[in-house]
């Protein structure tokens, strides 16, 4: 006996049913697996382009592009030190459209890293990590999931970086794994576990390959699904808080009660929908289909068009095959780690371990430090928020440039030539100064405004500009021997060699 009758299957494929009313269309959508991704109706505020810039959607589309191209690349790539480099060469020169697959995969990876940062900036600046007062949603937790996704994205990109097995890959991974080794006491053990030995070789390649192709994408997919499901559970984008407040002022009557389901007794409490006073009606909302689905489709198509367009224009570089005997000069990590590499140039422990740990923990803690529930969903919260944002940008610009100047003009080792203790230089260096200056600003703004939100905005904006400046310095202003060169200064033709 077959599970489906032929007729049923046909019905499922063509879906000939036509709803007679919006209500019937709505329940039809909720009953359909693909269409119930979205709620029945969607608030006009959250549909507005300025509410989200659709950055999360774009990031997910780029991730899908990476998955599809990645699976095809897995058929064509051989993860062995003898053949990895040559299978990449084959992609460029022997496989039909191999060059396109590789370029598309590479440009999408860079785009994804950039997009998760931009998405984080948007969520922070619109205060979308806040729970809201009308119904306490779990958005703070969803922000933590988001920071986890950021870390996973960076790890995915980093593990993918080794696979071409060229000089760029080999030395970026050398530098990256040695940063892990600068953790006190257990650093060398961690490094050897990552490498699967004491030097980068076949065990390293296979480890990074499995992490890149199986473990990390699966984990990222699971967390990303959770991240998006939470948005539904919290009732949509953070801007719907404004709808809720509006609904409260209009009808202060008892909130409408509706059913809630706790899954097999695992999920506790009630969903936010139960106490949500918002009634989505003709005035403040539209049906998700077609209004949201068409926009998502449009964004998806635009993202595809832009990434394919970029892939046609931007070449994927491939340097000489990996050679442990020759270090390229300068040897640089991927662009999003170059800000880190710049600080690692001051101290491996401070710049490579302590600062990133504090930044990640600090990011995760934002919703728990800043519990103000005002103006959720609006950029910079309000006018003074914007001013404090500008203040943070200017302060970050000045302090970062100042610390760079110290690093270039007054290296700590020449200031204190008599001190031999490495511990001293791990503590006293420009990266530490920058960290302390930012922490000081947070507390000064907090004391002055009595607002955790304004203090957070100023610090976050300073962090953004510091990230941009340090990344730019590492990318464009560092030449052979990691010496400083202005953009208009040519690099020496023949760097000092043996």
């Amino acid at each position: 006996m077959s599970l489906f009758k032929k007729h049923d299957l046909w019905q499922k494929l063509v879906w000939p049913w036509r709803p007679e009313s919006d209500r019937e269309a709505g329940s039809g959508i909720v009953a359909n697996f693909l269409l119930h991704w979205f709620p029945n109706r969607v608030s006009l505020r959250s549909l507005a382009f300025s509410a989200s810039l659709y950055l999360g959607t774009i990031t997910f589309v780029v991730f899908l592009v990476l998955t599809v191209t990645g699976v095809v690349l897995m058929f064509l790539y051989v993860p062995s030190v003898e053949r990895a480099y040559w299978s990449i060469k084959d992609l460029d020169y022997a496989v039909s459209f191999g060059w396109l697959l590789r370029r598309l995969h590479r440009i999408s990876a860079h785009l994804m890293v950039a997009l998760v940062f931009l998405h984080m900036f948007r969520v922070f600046l619109t205060g979308s990590y806040k729970a809201g007062e009308v119904v306490r949603s779990a958005r703070p937790f969803n922000w933590v999931l988001g920071v986890t996704l950021l870390v996973m994205t960076l790890l995915l990109s980093f593990t993918g970086y080794l696979l071409p097995w060229d000089q760029l890959a080999f030395w970026a991974i050398t530098v990256g794994t040695n940063i892990a080794a600068s953790v006190p006491a257990v650093g060398e053990t961690i490094r050897q576990f990552l490498l699967g030995g004491t030097v980068i070789g076949q065990p390293t390649l296979i480890r990074f390959y499995v992490l890149h192709c199986a473990l990390l994408p699966l984990a990222l997919f699971a967390v990303a699904a959770w991240h998006m499901w939470r948005i539904r559970k919290d009732g949509g984008l953070a801007i719907v808080e404004q709808d809720r407040i509006h609904a409260l002022t209009r009808e202060p009557a008892a909130p409408k009660k509706s059913k809630t389901y706790s899954v097999l007794g695992i999920a506790s409490g009630t969903t936010v929908q139960v106490n949500d006073p918002t009634t989505l009606n003709e005035e403040n909302s539209v049906p998700s289909t077609p209004f949201l689905t068409v926009r998502i489709l449009l964004v998806t198509l635009l993202t595809l068009a832009v990434s394919i367009g970029l892939a046609l224009v931007v070449q994927a570089p491939l340097e000489a095959a990996a050679n442990p005997e020759v270090t390229p000069n300068p040897a640089k990590a991927p662009w999003y780690f170059l800000g880190l590499q710049e600080m690692v140039g001051y101290s491996a422990l401070m710049g490579g371990v302590i600062v990133p740990t504090i930044v990640i923990l600090g990011l995760m803690l934002i919703p728990f430090l800043d519990r103000e529930q005002k103006n959720i969903g609006f950029w910079f919260s309000d006018g003074s928020g914007k001013n404090w944002g500008i203040f943070g940008l200017v302060y970050g610009l000045a302090t970062t440039c100042g610390c760079l100047a110290i690093a270039l003009l007054l290296p700590m080792r020449s200031l204190f030539p008599t001190i031999e203790s490495q511990f001293f230089f791990d503590l006293v260096n420009p990266a530490t100064f920058l960290l302390l200056l930012f922490a000081a600003m947070y507390f000064v703004v907090l004391k002055k405004t009595k607002s955790t939100r304004y203090a957070a905005i100023a610090t976050f904006c300073a962090f953004i500009i510091a990230f941009v400046i340090l990344t730019y310095t590492g990318t464009a202003l560092r030449g052979p021997n990691w010496d400083f060169y202005w953009p208009w200064q040519p690099w020496p033709d023949h760097p000092l060699a043996l």
Binding site: V175, F193, V344, D426, N481, W482, P495
Partner: protein
């Protein structure tokens, strides 16, 4: 707000409800057994990824007869080692930067010059520069600029009794002042 109260109430009630009851005890026992089981099951998965055998180049190897080396500095590419000969004195300095593991480059001085490092004065032929983060080392290995946390390693050097060739042991570190006299 009502929901937060409801959540708080539920959270407040549940520990009391589970405490000191047979069901609560059995629940916690099951969770503990499951956790221990997961740890035991996870250990082989983790341990199998820590290699017991390394198929890597040997740490102790021959580098040829001492008389084949010229006066001054020779870079042994495949081993990332600088071999330095001063007439009959030999010593081996690692070419791996102590910061993040890039290969340092030897920059010879136009003329050998007297240098005072660690209270010793010696004749320096040049110094080592790292291309990755700009660390600099004196000719005898001491770090003096950039982020490198330690001096370059120096390795044990001996003459093979069987063949008369020099033997380097990169697993055995020696002081920067040790010289092999041949």
């Amino acid at each position: 707000m009502a929901s937060s109260e409801a959540v708080g109430a539920a959270a407040g009630v549940s520990p009391d409800r589970n405490k000191d009851t047979r069901r609560g005890f059995l629940g916690r026992l099951t969770a503990a057994v499951a956790a221990i089981g997961a740890l035991i099951a996870g250990w082989p998965l983790f341990r199998s990824l820590v290699p017991n055998v390394l198929y890597e180049p040997p740490k102790r190897f021959r580098i040829g007869a001492p008389e084949n080396y010229q006066e001054g500095v020779t870079f042994l590419e495949e081993h990332r080692i600088y071999l330095i000969r001063e007439s009959s004195n030999f010593h081996a300095i690692s070419g791996i930067c102590t910061h993040l593991g890039c290969t340092v480059k030897f920059s010879p001085f136009p003329m050998p010059q007297e240098e005072t490092v660690r209270q010793f004065t010696y004749r320096a032929l040049g110094e080592f520069h790292c291309p990755c983060h700009g660390s600099r080392f004196r000719g005898e290995g001491t770090n003096y600029a950039g982020p490198a946390p330690r001096p370059l390693k120096c390795f044990h050097l001996e003459v093979s009794a069987a063949t008369g060739e020099l033997v380097v042991d990169v697993a055995a570190e020696v002081s920067r002042d040790v010289r092999l006299v041949v």
